[in-house]
Assembly symmetry: D3
Homo-oligomer: 136 residues x 6
């Protein structure tokens, strides 16, 4: 079993807010992340698939194919967008790094599976100092 | 003459739009950066001052003092904010990396001067692949 | 289960020496790391906690809280210090990256647990080319 | 159990081609990686061993010893070489990152074992955006 | 005057050899870089243009336009190629980082000029530890 | 004129203290950097030389020669050492990044000159967030 990872970059605006709470409570819990007029990040995404190298290619999964899936399913709907407003599959959810990584997994997993491989991990850097990992 | 640089990080939302143009023209010129609902970045800021090491300290400029100036004058008004809406000294300006770097210079220069040093350069990374430098 | 990591930086002096050995033997085993008058590093620490996103926040663990725990329990006693002399919980131990990571785990684990989360991993870079990981 | 990793760098030329296929099929599958006159990479290699810190040293494995094994067994035969032509243990294999990581594991594992430790992982960056991991 | 830089990545094979010298002399001067069967690098290219922000856009030079020029004039002819064999504008020249940076400048300068800006610097990383800068 | 830079790494212990001041004054000015029992850093050094590519090699300066000069003149006396105690050419000076960069320049400049090139810049990172540049 070999694990193959592809790194992608995109940027987006978001804010963290629980609509059931008032502004003061949101500020207490989410701090500056609750600021009303949005903030944003350069996200760095690592997508890892696993499998055995194919005898005809030596590839577990063609990195070009993986890059194309990430571009179509994640970068196109997300890059230079507002995660709270513009991304259909994040509607009704917190746009924390945790929930966003789960959302990305849910978008990628069926496509990676259909392409004959196994998705292993979605790793998402929100900043160079905060990142999350989700393994399904 | 020795040049001393201090690196800071913050993140913010913005969009690029010329209010004299219609949406189509803005999209043509600014591309995804004109998306209506904002996007954002993790900015990385390098502030460089120059001078001769002081005989009592060996410092051109105390890096802790420099960090405090950057925190008070740049990070506090800008971090987790919307550059187009929330930052008084960017009002009426494009929030391109170019204009933002000039804005940062204008905030820092008098304070660095008052502290007895010379501001040399403001270098601003908008993404890991796009950065600007301004020397006053 | 989602894994959330926070990165912190600090620097410290240390040396590697087995007090039961003479200088020559220490030099043979530890090389330049045994130099008498200390050397030092900019350490980079990644602390990973795991759990399920909370339904009220979308957070596994508030990254701000995690940063505060790391600052209080690790950065304050360790930053700009001598690991062999100044850090109570490293007394009587080798200050190798391995032992230091275990020491960091032992400081953080009860506090992370008390805050309602699970510590998963302490990853410590001694230099950009040498790092260790400890999972308890 | 503590995991200790050492990072090494080298560069090499290679190309990806299945000799059973014609040029067009190779181009279709491998894209630019099949270009006839070779291309190359700055590889970054992370070698991870695991074990318990030794009571006499606090080391799981002396990082200097690990660096010497990597230099002798991997860097010397591979650095500034052509993976398809010059490296005996890659003959008859695809020089994909996947197969190359397996080849590196096979070179290192007996030597790490003989030195009294356990090889845990070979992680190989082909570019800053594509990397593979192999755990034996 | 503001300086705007765009970073690009590509990889290529090359070797360093003076055809007027025998193999021994080439080995003496160029070391492993003279190895017969090529080696290669992941190059990182920083292209810097300078000018004043345009009053209609706040841009010195549209970074998207700059990226397109770099892609067409540098990445397409160079990426996944052999610098000594495949790149017309490097024929008859050493493929040192120095000469390659001059070659890149000569390709980009007329196009940047035609687009109404001034090329300021070509910075080229051959490895993370060796880079060159050329200012025309 | 082309500028060629070589990056090196080493680590060392130091502290910042003015012997003419008492402990309180040192603490006020130098903060944690004055802690009595030393602290340390992983320094990153960039050495830049300038000149024209030689017609026989395409090199401004052989990067291998530059690496050897840096190793002999800087890394050997400094790596894993105490800057205040062990380095002859830092005696009687503050070990600030500023003074250390000047010291490094003074060691390298005659040797680079003797080797037929011009030293242009010494750039020294004390941490990833603080660096200095000295041009002689």
């Amino acid at each position: 079993m070999v694990y193959v990872s592809r790194v992608a970059h995109f940027n987006a605006a978001h804010k963290l807010v629980n609509p059931a709470w008032d502004a003061q409570k949101n500020q207490e819990v989410f701090g500056k992340c609750a600021n009303e007029n949005w903030h944003g990040h350069n996200y760095e995404l690592h997508v890892t698939v696993k499998g055995e190298p194919h005898p005809d290619t030596g590839f577990v999964f063609n990195a070009k194919t993986l890059a194309e899936l990430i571009e179509k399913l994640i970068e196109e709907p997300v890059d230079h967008k507002n995660l709270n407003i513009d991304v259909p599959w994040m509607q009704g959810q917190f746009t924390t790094a945790e929930q966003f990584a789960i959302g990305i997994w849910n978008q990628l997993e069926p496509a990676v599976h259909a392409a004959g491989a196994q998705l292993h991990c979605v790793k998402l850097y929100e900043t160079p100092r905060i990142y999350v990992e989700y393994f399904g």
